[in-house]
């Protein structure tokens, strides 16, 4: 004959504790999913540059994103102005023909190759598409080589 469970106060409270622990355990996964969701801050990797860009221009900032564009005799190119050391925003100084990082003093040459400072590699280049109206569509998610031209 199976033992009859006696619903004493102690047994009920123990069941209550068990329920609380079970509910807490089950809610860990939903909580992590909720707190780590980035659905409400979607960031498009696409940047548009729609100002006129002269042939053989120097680097021009896209202003709305950390993207700079330039055009030479072979075509247009785009550079992502985030330092390859720890990701600070680098700025192009036209008078020095160099990219300077304000955080730890990295210096890059005009093509984005590291000259001095802690930067380990060249600034990232992004793929460019020239639209029929002449504006540029830069895809920062698509990394390209330094001699890439659109």
């Amino acid at each position: 004959m199976p033992k009859q469970i006696e619903w004493t106060r102690r047994a009920v409270l123990r069941l209550g504790w068990f329920g609380i622990i079970a509910a807490s355990t089950l809610s860990i996964d939903p909580l992590v999913k909720y707190l780590t969701s980035k659905e409400d801050q979607l960031q498009s990797p696409l940047v548009v540059y729609n100002k006129p860009l002269d042939k053989n221009s120097d680097w021009q900032s896209a202003a709305t994103a950390r993207v700079w564009v330039k055009r030479d005799s072979r075509g247009a190119m785009a550079l992502v102005a985030s330092c390859t050391h720890l990701g600070c925003e680098v700025t192009y100084h036209p008078n020095r023909k160099e990219w300077l990082c304000p955080c730890h003093g990295s210096v890059y040459d005009v093509e984005g190759r590291p000259l001095s400072g802690p930067a380990p590699k060249a600034l990232q280049r992004a793929a460019v598409e020239i639209k029929p109206d002449g504006s540029l569509m830069i895809n920062t998610a698509q990394q390209v080589e330094m001699d890439y031209r659109a």
Binding site: P30, L31, K33, Y34, L35, S37, E39, D40
Partner: protein, 207 residues
């Protein structure tokens, strides 16, 4: 001083036979506090994704309710716990009148309860404004205009309580701060004092 300590008053020193029946209080105060705790936890979670503001409030609510994983569960728990609390707080007050529990020596606790009722209603109202829908914009406009009727200090009071809500959305940073920080902290401490006074005034039921 030892027996005036809050912690020492959470449990009663003795419980007479016969007071444990649920039919005396119907646990309405306890249910209100349970709803308050749920509101605190879910409200804290909602703050991670809610963006107050004229143009962002309503959109972020929609995003929480439809896109964020489990966001709709948390949002609905917060909403319905708020509705439940307004109901249970009013029934609790009705019960206190019914059992004459507002009489001496509990007059002060009755007054604290009235203050808590007003606080809960303001919390409910500010939560309604934070939804940021057009209805909330209309409600905010009405509230600002009513407060503005108070001579002298009305305009300033409306500014302090609501900021400058537009007619299309009641979600402002000012309402957000009151709803998420100012009013809940005030309500929490007033509730703890409310509970402590029960025991001080001779209440012998466990909470």
């Amino acid at each position: 001083m030892k027996d005036q300590n809050f912690v020492n008053h959470i449990r009663p020193r003795f419980i007479p036979d016969g007071v444990l029946t649920i039919l005396y209080t119907f646990c309405l105060g306890g249910l209100s506090f349970l709803a308050f705790v749920i509101l605190g936890v879910t409200g804290f979670l909602l703050m991670f994704h809610y963006q107050p503001g004229d143009s962002t409030g309503f959109g972020s609510i929609l995003t929480i309710a439809s896109v964020i994983p489990y966001g709709s569960v948390i949002r609905n728990l917060h909403y319905w716990a708020g509705q439940l609390m307004v109901v249970t707080v009013n029934l609790h007050m009705l019960r206190v009148v019914w059992t004459h529990s507002y009489k001496s020596p509990k007059q002060l606790n009755w007054l604290i309860g009235v203050a808590l009722l007003i606080l809960i209603l303001v919390l409910d109202f500010t939560g309604y404004l934070l939804i940021g829908s057009q209805e909330s914009g209309a409600a905010a406009t009405v509230a600002v205009n009513i407060l503005g009727l108070i001579p002298g200090m009305g305009k300033g009071l409306a500014q302090i309580m609501f900021g400058e809500p537009s007619a299309l959305s009641g979600s402002t940073l000012v309402v957000y701060v009151w709803h998420c920080v100012g009013l809940p902290i005030f309500a929490l401490f007033l509730q703890l004092y409310h509970f402590w006074r029960i025991r001080r005034d001779g209440g012998v039921r466990p909470l």
